[in-house]
């Protein structure tokens, strides 16, 4: 009911804003600016469950491109709006992952060309997302964008405060998504420490941010990375514990992160299955703010369980051959 009200209110504000923009002519720049700010505020405000609380991923997948283009149109008029930059970056990153990368990753080898082109498309979306997000940081800390891109982030990040947590988290996530989808873009791979520093900083500012979401990243990061590059099962397990502690049973992401990294690496099929079954046991309708991510996470868990043999050598099968 509340969600419906929020959706209704937000839609109304957007409609009024767009109507205002179309009504006012170029002579009325001041009114136009006010209108743009009103729409930007409506779109980027913290009425965040419009998308994240939805129970229909397909609907969200269809709606996000329009939302992104609307945000970008508004940004063209108001390029330093921190909240709008954050909302645009988040939408691009989410769309790239849920609706471009995941479907591409599930394509069979027979559709290798399509898989490759879609993964490259996801990378472009992540890079665009990262650029908006570091512009959001720049709008709050002059000069930080240059420092981040030059790999001298340490001093610049030290200026960040609690208010920057969300922007830092999403900047690092979009950046790392781009790095990990194309590990052989060596120029980009060399920026990994900066991307990781953004997520670490967000965690340092607020360890429990988004009920432990930053810890999910470090489960996958330490769990997948070779030990020769700093990977560590112990660190991954420690982040899993932290994430569970902050999630209070509201999110499926930590289970999937540990299953797909540590369990695959250790070829521990039993724990892989148990973790994914734990993810499926959660009722996604119980926690509205995580409904979309839990529903899509559960879809992923089901797909992974159905494709277990892609990740584990099944000894029984071999003996039967």
């Amino acid at each position: 009911m509340n969600t419906f009200k929020l959706k209704k209110n937000t839609s109304l504000r957007i409609f009024v804003g767009i109507a205002l923009i179309s009504v006012v002519g170029s002579q009325f720049q001041c009114v136009k600016k006010i209108a743009i700010k009103a729409v930007s505020k409506a779109l980027s405000g913290e009425s965040g469950t419009v998308f994240s609380g939805d129970n229909d991923p397909e609907l969200v997948g269809d709606a996000l491109p329009f939302a992104i283009k609307t945000y970008e149109s508004l940004l063209a008029q108001n390029p330093k709006d921190t909240k709008l930059l954050l909302a645009t970056g988040k939408a691009l990153c989410t769309y790239g992952y849920l609706f471009v990368q995941i479907p591409a990753d599930r394509l069979p080898d027979e559709q290798l060309d399509l898989k490759t082109s879609q993964r490259l498309r996801a990378k472009r979306l992540y890079m665009r997302s990262r650029d908006y997000l570091i512009s959001a940081l720049e709008s709050r800390h002059k000069g930080i964008k240059k420092s981040l891109l030059q790999g001298t982030a340490e001093a610049a990040l030290s200026e960040c405060t609690l208010k920057d947590t969300s922007i830092l988290y999403w900047s690092g996530m979009a950046w790392m998504a781009a790095v990990s989808i194309d590990k052989f873009d060596l120029s980009l791979a060399l920026t990994t420490p900066t991307a990781v520093a953004c997520i670490s900083k967000s965690m340092a500012l607020c360890d429990s941010f988004s009920n432990g979401s930053a810890h999910d990243f470090f489960i996958s990061y330490y769990g997948s990375l070779p030990a020769s590059m700093g990977g560590s099962i112990q660190k991954a397990e420690a982040h899993f514990e932290k994430s569970l502690q902050y999630a209070h049973g509201m999110r499926v992401a930590p289970y999937i992160a540990l299953a797909t990294s540590v369990c695959v690496k250790a070829q521990d099929q039993q724990r892989f299955t148990t973790l994914l079954e734990s993810a499926l046991a959660l009722n996604p309708d119980t926690y509205i703010q995580y409904r979309l991510s839990n529903i899509t996470g559960q879809e992923q868990a089901r797909w992974l369980l159905a494709h277990t043999s892609d990740y584990f050598l099944d000894t029984k099968d071999i003996l039967a051959q």
Partner: protein, 335 residues
């Protein structure tokens, strides 16, 4: 009675023919990360094999080392858990030590020479691998091993001043390095990054692509121009699995794998060149090696090799390769 016998023979031969062309599922392990150019090429091979064999040969790829490192993969192939693997010379030498001679330092000096020598040695190596239970369906060249170090290295003396990382578990190799006057520190590769950070080691050998991918060059910003040794690789299938495949399609499968692997070699060379450019943009210095320095390196290697002959490096194979290198150089000169 005749009719009965004929019917029975037909039934048996039909059964036999069914068994002979039954679908063969090949589980292949690979260290190449999923979705990397190498992984993509393995999947193209899989698609080609399925098409060529009328879907009777199906390749299932376990990428990114999820079924273990090269030694694990070989072990799993021996017990039938895995049927195939894409491995480098490191693994190939563990199956057939003779192949290591191909990677003797400073023996082969360029890609053309390597292609010539490998072309001539393939039948011999393939026989050796077959005798150990493996069929190699494609060879590839992985790249050239170089020295990466904290301080510049152009001559052997430059390297002798530094602590050199070597793979643990190779006492003969360690002894050869010491014999050449270097300071080898045997460690697990997983400890390389921390050992460079702590100063336990100052230098290591690897390909430019690995130095860039693992970002080790950030801690050892000098690369010696000298191409120390080539690294080869290949796709191997256990004989048990390979023998299940219909003999009539095998040549086509090998042709497809070899053709795609050749493309992979070109991609590897391009990736290596790109890795070098990117590393230079990020602070890597490539230290040149003069003719005098090259002669000094060759003298040093000559002192270490006798320790390895017939322990790690097969002397007979080594001598064959020396002769083939000379043959290639003579042919090139004659042109």
């Amino acid at each position: 009675m005749k009719q009965f016998l004929l019917t029975q023979t037909l039934v048996i031969s039909t059964l036999f023919s069914f068994a002979y062309s039954a679908p063969v599922s090949i589980k292949l392990g690979s260290l190449a990360p999923a979705n990397s150019p190498w992984d993509k090429n393995l999947r193209i091979i899989g698609n080609e094999w399925a098409k060529t064999s009328g879907n009777t040969v199906n390749l299932k790829i376990y990428a990114g080392g999820i079924v273990g490192d090269e030694m694990d993969m070989i072990r799993k192939m021996k017990v039938g858990q895995l049927n195939a693997a894409a491995i480098t010379g490191v693994g190939l030498c563990r199956i057939s030590q003779e192949i290591l001679a191909l990677q003797t330092p400073l023996l082969i000096s360029n890609n053309d020479q390597l292609a010539y020598v490998l072309g001539k040695m393939k039948p011999e190596f393939e026989q050796l691998l077959a005798a150990k239970g493996f069929t190699i369906v494609a060879w590839s060249t992985v790249g050239w091993v170089h020295f990466f170090s904290k301080s510049p290295v152009s001559t052997p003396d430059d390297l002798k001043k530094q602590k050199l990382f070597i793979w643990a578990g190779d006492p003969d190799g360690a002894s050869a390095w010491k014999n050449m006057g270097f300071n080898p520190v045997p460690l697990a590769v997983t400890d390389l990054m921390t050992s460079l950070q702590s100063g336990m080691v100052d230098a290591f050998t690897t390909t430019p692509l690995s130095a860039a991918s693992y970002q080790w060059f950030g801690l050892a910003t000098n690369m010696c121009e000298l191409s120390w040794a080539p690294l080869v690789g290949g796709i191997i299938v256990t004989n048990d699995t390979w023998n299940k495949i219909d003999a009539s399609v095998k040549p086509q499968l090998i042709h497809a794998a070899a053709k795609i692997s050749a493309g992979m070699d070109a991609e590897s060379r391009a990736a290596e060149a790109s890795a070098l450019t990117i590393m230079q943009q990020h602070g890597l210095t490539i230290n040149p090696v003069s003719q005098a320095a090259l002669a000094a390196w060759k003298t040093v290697v000559a002192t270490g090799l006798p320790k390895l002959f017939d322990k790690s490096i097969d002397k007979k194979t080594y001598d064959r390769i020396v002769a083939l290198c000379a043959e290639f150089d003579a042919l090139k000169k004659a042109k």
